[in-house]
């Protein structure tokens, strides 16, 4: 059992903002000191570019950068470092797959299956390529608790299904989807599967070999790493036959005036100077999460969800969305308070130093399914405590008073 008070003490932001109750980690997580230090150390003591230099500092930068790739590979249990591509985040990772792999492999009449839970980042790249290639997008329905209907998925699949792109954990409802079952079903008809792990990678251990997904995307900043860096995992076999979407510096081994030969994996997908500091920062974040242990992270999360659900249910007029079951819910709870618009609620909570998100959370189609325009969303990470939830409940009751409810 970890001491989570000690963990919270490692986040400098709570020293400069002593009263802060941060409940918006699904948007971005706060950064532990070790991550800030790692970035600072790179800029202070190294500063050179990677993969180019003939001198010590560049060699050091390359070691740090490639070391972080190894860390990511182990973190998600990929077979090889060749399968780990650094991107700017989940959005770019999914765009790489939709426009890169999809641009090369999808053809007119092919079908793409998504779900009603998808964030716009796992919807719009597919809309774009579907329009270009004249493909059809189908959506797996969710039930009233925000759980994907696997039977409906089975009905949607056909010989035309080429790719299935699903979120592992919903950024609005926190639903943990049983993605392994979906992956097995999709593979049975030879469709490829992309998993959007933006909300799951920070909260639970992932094993891409056991899941057997073809692509997996996540962001560094939601797991304590810096902004501007993310990961695209893809099976080596697929990467070998996929053309890079971007070309330019350092992704080639030979260039003539009319021809270029691509570099080895994974570098052929990393054109230009990479996000060296950010990747090093992400490596530090993962090392730190490993020290805590992802099972501990998940169990802390589960306890907070359980406590929050129990306390929120006591408030008259609260409507909770999603599974409301800590066993299949991670990090996030969406709700509405009768008679108070979520945006007003967020403003009142802000005046109590409580940061929450209100709105459609980049999931406008899901809002339609939930029959609402917006929800208030709280989301947790390892620095949150039961005390935070107690403060939240007090502030919600204050909002009720202001709105005379």
């Amino acid at each position: 059992m970890k001491d989570f008070a000690k963990i919270k003490a490692q986040f400098p932001i709570f020293k400069s903002n002593k009263k802060l109750v941060y409940l918006d980690s699904a948007a971005t997580a706060l950064k532990p000191k070790c991550v800030i230090d790692a970035i600072n150390d790179y800029y202070t003591n190294c500063g050179a570019n990677v993969h180019r230099g003939m001198y010590d500092l560049s060699e050091k930068a390359t070691d740090m950068y490639e070391g972080a790739r190894k860390t990511v590979q182990k973190f998600i249990n990929a077979k090889s470092e060749r399968e780990i591509i650094f991107t700017s985040g989940t959005t770019e990772s999914i765009n790489f797959v939709a426009l890169g792999w999809g641009g090369q492999n999808l053809k007119s009449g092919d079908e793409i299956i998504l779900s009603a839970l998808e964030h716009h980042s796992n919807l719009l790249p597919w809309q774009k390529i579907a329009k270009e290639k004249n493909c059809v997008i189908k959506f797996v329905d969710v039930d009233k608790n925000g759980i994907l209907k696997i039977d409906h998925f089975s009905k949607l699949m056909s010989r035309k299904t080429k790719i299935v792109a699903l979120t592992h954990v919903s950024n609005v409802l926190g639903t943990i989807n049983p993605i392994k079952k979906f992956i097995q079903k999709a593979h049975a008809i030879s469709a490829k599967v992309l998993i959007d792990a933006a909300q799951s990678a920070p909260h639970m251990s992932l094993d891409v070999q056991s899941l057997d997904c073809d692509f997996l995307a996540f962001s560094g900043h939601k797991m304590g790493g810096p902004t501007g860096v993310g990961v695209l995992y893809a099976k080596e076999k697929i990467l070998e036959t996929t053309e890079p979407l971007f070309t330019g510096g350092s992704m080639t081994i030979e260039v003539t005036k009319n021809h270029a030969k691509w570099n080895d994996l994974p570098w052929k997908f990393e054109a230009g100077t990479p996000k060296v500091a950010e990747v090093i920062g992400l490596g530090a974040a993962i090392n730190w999460l490993n020290e805590i242990g992802m099972d501990e992270v998940r169990s802390h999360d589960e306890k907070l969800i359980e406590f929050a659900l129990q306390e929120l249910k006591k408030i008259k007029g609260i409507r909770l969305y999603g599974p409301c079951n800590p066993k299949i819910q991670s990090g996030t709870i969406s709700f509405n308070l009768e008679g108070v618009h979520p945006h007003d609620l967020a403003s009142i909570l802000n005046s109590e130093n409580i940061a929450i998100r209100a709105g459609h959370h980049c999931c406008m189609p899901l809002m339609e399914s939930l029959n609402t325009e917006a929800t208030a969303r709280i989301s947790f990470y390892i620095y949150n405590t039961e005390e935070d939830i107690k403060k939240l409940v007090l502030a919600i009751n204050k909002a009720k008073k202001i709105f005379v409810i």
Binding site: V340, P342, H343, A358, G359, H360, E373, F403
Partner: protein, 118 residues
């Protein structure tokens, strides 16, 4: 909290002019992409350009709803050209409070939408 003055809460619960105008002369729609506020403004204007009636439909937070209520009330009897010159401050005056940068879009959405009526 100062922002939520009684008048704002009251207008949120009982908005003014929240209805459709059948046979409206002009209509315009607006939305705030970040928070999901939506509004549709209806105007009935006479031949001289004077606003005879104004109303709104839509859904949003207390700030947006109060702002839309007051705006549709205050524009009656004025011309659209006059209203098009109105600046943010008018809305702050109506609401009796300035708005922080996180809420300014909510408060200004009704005016900005009305100003799009052509």
């Amino acid at each position: 909290m100062e922002l939520y003055r009684d008048i704002i809460i009251e207008l949120y619960k009982n908005p003014l002019n929240k209805r459709k105008i059948a046979g409206a002369t002009l209509k315009a729609s607006g939305a705030n992409v970040t928070c999901g506020d939506r509004i549709r403004i209806y105007l009935k204007i006479d031949k001289k350009g004077k606003i005879l009636d104004a109303s709104f439909e839509g859904s949003g937070c207390a700030i947006m709803t109060a702002s839309a209520s007051l705006l549709t009330e205050k524009v009656k009897g004025k011309t659209l050209n006059e209203i098009k010159k109105w600046k943010d401050k008018k809305i702050f005056d109506f609401l009796g409070t300035e708005l922080s940068h996180t809420r300014i879009k909510c408060g200004l959405l009704p005016l900005e939408t009305l100003q799009q009526c052509t």
